[in-house]
């Protein structure tokens, strides 16, 4: 690379701009992903956190267009992967899927086809995109199984999915996603069904792949996994990203009221029960305003508030929240002091 420092840094591996996905149901249209923007670089792990139904999975599935259409419909935004516009009509997305962007789904036991042996499915994942002879593909399958921590991989490779436990199926699903050595791995809760020792092993594996330059977009509910793997965190709520930043900054100084509420709920105190059950999220303005203790009039109307840098004095411009309090004319201290209270109660948890 040239040493010209005035040039902006090279394009990120994956750049998402203003992605919008609707899900059309009989009872109306849900704006599952509503203007999401983020980037994942090579060798970087970006973590999507947020409650169920916040649009994390739909975001991930919209990137390569594997979200079922219909009922879903990707209505706007751009997704650029390594210089390729994934939303363009003439892009051969199936050549990217699997080969360059791997996907690990939730529900591992369902991710495997019951009529084929695990080895067959790994071989399939390898040979869909690459012309390799069967012996090589099989050897590589056994190697992959070993790497994700399946004991006696050489024997287990001929077993059928129903002979695997949930955690092992999960690991096989990871192995399938990694079979073609993708440049970007999108992992939807890859560690939920496995016990802690296997989880540690998977995290080690993912770390090794990150060191090799693979990008990782990770969805998880487990803040320990976030702490162990992520470089940056995106907090999603109601189809929008409400806060983004380096993992330390977001953990230490959660800036958005929703992030604070989310982190607070992890320590199991009573705050969760106090939150009102919601029928409909607001469709405009700040989606969190109905539950936000700090909501003001300007939270309503228009788009989700723009990102404002959280001036937390740590020198990180990356840490930003989509909250009017961080804009001009508001006192962000109101929210940040609330955040500090949360942070104190959650500290014990997030450093594993």
């Amino acid at each position: 690379m040239s040493g010209d420092h005035s040039e902006p840094p090279a394009d990120p591996l994956l750049a998402v701009e203003d992605l919008r996905t609707l899900i059309r149901a009989d009872r109306g249209t849900v704006r599952a992903v509503d203007g999401v923007s983020f980037a994942v670089d090579r060798g970087e792990a970006v973590c999507l956190v947020g409650e169920s139904g916040s649009g994390k999975s739909v975001t991930c599935e919209s990137l390569t267009g594997i979200v079922p259409q219909p009922p879903a419909e990707i209505v706007g935004g751009s997704v650029t992967f390594d210089g390729i516009d994934l939303r363009a009509a003439d892009t051969d997305r199936s050549a990217i899927r699997g080969a360059r962007i791997g996907h690990v789904f939730q529900n591992p036991q369902h991710a495997l086809d019951p009529v084929y042996s695990v080895g067959d499915q790994l071989v399939e994942a390898i040979t869909i995109h690459r012309e390799v002879d069967e012996a090589t593909a099989r050897e590589r399958s056994i190697d992959l199984l070993g790497r994700v921590g399946i004991p006696r991989a050489a024997q287990r490779v001929d077993d059928y999915p129903h002979e695997f436990s949930g955690g092992m199926a999960q690991r096989v699903a990871v192995a399938i996603a990694l079979a073609a050595e993708p440049d970007l791995l999108i992992a939807d809760e890859p560690t939920t069904a496995v016990d802690v020792t296997v989880q540690a092993r998977l995290i080690d594996l993912l770390r090794g792949l990150l060191d090799d330059g693979m990008g990782l977009l990770l969805i998880t509910h487990d803040l320990r996994v976030v702490a162990a793997l992520a470089d940056r965190v995106l907090v999603m709520f109601g189809g929008t990203i409400v806060e983004r930043g380096p993992v330390e900054a977001v953990f230490d100084r959660p800036a958005h009221p929703y992030t604070q509420a989310l982190f607070d709920s992890y320590d199991g105190t009573t705050r969760l029960a106090e939150r009102p059950s919601r029928d409909e999220l607001p469709a405009d303005g700040c989606r969190f305003r109905a539950e936000c203790p700090h909501a003001v009039e300007s939270c309503a109307g228009g788009e989700q508030p723009g990102f404002h840098t959280v001036g937390d004095g740590a020198g990180t411009d990356d840490h930003a929240a989509s909250c009017v309090y961080y804009g001009d004319g508001y006192d962000a201290e109101v929210i940040q002091s609330a955040g500090r209270a949360v942070q104190q109660s959650a500290t014990g948890d997030d450093d594993d």
Binding site: M1, R42, G43, T64, I66, P68, P70, D82, R93, S94, A95, I96, R97, G98, A99, G102, H103, F105, N107, P108, Q109, H110, A111, L112, D113, P114, V115, Y116, S117, Q121, E124, A125, I128, H129, R130, E131, Y160, H162, A173, I176, A177, A180, E181, D183, D212, G213
Partner: protein, 394 residues
């Protein structure tokens, strides 16, 4: 600054080019093309040069051509994949071995196939022999007055009654025209096998293709296909057969075309509803996320996962078609030259000598063969459903 994008990776290949060469020439397609070309060449030869005879004076009829083409299709897409996927075939074979009932049913159907395809060529048509009519089967006796001659011993009964005993010349007896029942059975087996081959080679793929396409694709195509199937279900096959019968007379080809091509609607519906569930399954999503095409996913992941439903439904369809053919033949609307089991049963039930129960062997033997065939089919359908599922227990 080290560029991480330059880490070692597999060589990039133009997959579309590789796919094209990889996909167009397969053993299945080669066999199919060669086989169909041979059948077509024979057909042209038969039509424009000289008649092709299966055996002696037996000219090839349209239905024979259709069944020959059907056999080619079944060889290309049944036998060839089974040979290519040796491991899967061996797994299924070993699972079959654990089920004696399934083995017995398969043996029966296998025997029927050989009898129905090879023996008619060897034996030819059942020969008339008016000198020896209503000969009883071996071990039984019949009124000696019915037949000019008796092949076996003649036994004196009470008064003037004399009985003709069964002999090795006609081990299963003869009918009212002196035709051997065993050769009538063989001819009937041929008709049954024709029905099976036609159904498996043409009707079942059609039903499956429509069901999978409608379920997997959904949308407008689903609406069109579903409506078509619904309309088709409203047309009674037997009515259409009789309309055709008025113009071309009794014909097995007509029967197969009308009953076969109007009967697959329920199978297509069943497959469609099953596919609707399967296409949401995780492995389908995973296969898509791996970059597999719709066609690939449908063939490799959806189809094998609907065999649970498909196999029994298909086998049921075949059994229904065999019974329908026998029914039409029983009513006397089929080609009498083919000696379908149905027409032999009808013949035995209205004999010109004695009563139906006195000449029971003429109707009972083909009835037993028909029943055994249908029962075997059902057993094979249920058995195959179980052995094709690697999860085993149901």
């Amino acid at each position: 600054m080290a560029a991480p994008s330059e880490r070692p990776r597999f060589e990039r290949v133009d997959w579309s080019a590789v796919d094209a060469t990889r996909r167009t020439v397969t053993p299945e397609r080669t066999i199919l093309a060669v086989g169909l070309l041979i059948v077509a060449a024979l057909w042209l030869y038969d039509r424009y040069v000289a008649h092709v005879y299966l055996v002696a004076e037996w000219a090839v009829a349209p239905v024979d051509w259709a069944v020959m083409a059907g056999l080619v299709v079944l060889t290309a897409y049944g036998v060839v994949p089974a040979v290519r996927n040796r491991e899967a075939t061996l797994r299924v074979a070993s699972a079959i071995r654990d089920r004696p009932v399934l083995v017995a049913a398969l043996c029966f159907l296998g025997g029927l196939f050989v009898v129905g395809t090879v023996l008619p060529l060897v034996l030819g048509r059942p020969e008339l022999n008016f000198g020896y009519v209503y000969q009883p089967p071996l071990g039984f006796a019949a009124d000696a007055g019915w037949s000019p001659n008796c092949a076996g011993e003649i036994r004196q009964g009470t008064g003037i009654q004399r009985y003709c005993e069964g002999s090795l010349q006609a081990p299963l007896g003869t009918n009212g025209r002196g035709q051997l029942v065993e050769s009538l059975l063989v001819s009937g087996a041929r008709v049954a096998i024709y029905v099976v081959v036609f159904a498996l080679a043409f009707v079942v793929p059609l039903a499956t293709a429509v069901g999978v396409t409608a379920g997997f694709r959904g949308g407008r195509l689903d609406d069109v296909l579903r409506t078509y199937v619904d309309v088709q279900l409203c047309i009674p096959a037997i009515f259409l057969y009789f309309v055709g019968y008025m113009y071309v007379g009794a014909s097995l080809a007509l029967l197969l075309a009308t009953f076969g091509l109007l009967s697959w609607g329920p199978v297509a519906r069943l497959v469609r509803s099953e596919v609707l569930q399967r296409r949401e399954d995780g492995y389908v999503v995973v296969a898509r996320s791996l970059g597999a095409s719709d066609w690939y996913v449908a063939r490799r992941h959806v189809l094998p996962n609907v065999t649970n439903t498909l196999v029994p439904a298909v086998v049921h369809l075949v059994a229904i078609l065999i019974v329908a053919e026998a029914g039409v033949a029983f009513l006397g609307f089929s080609d009498v030259e083919l000696y379908s089991w149905g027409s032999t049963i009808a013949e035995g039930l209205s004999p010109d000598r004695g009563t139906a129960h006195q000449v029971w062997w003429v109707s009972t033997t083909p009835a037993v063969a028909l029943a055994a065939t249908v029962v075997s089919l059902k057993l094979v359908g249920d058995g195959l459903r179980d052995v094709l599922d690697p999860r085993g227990e149901h």
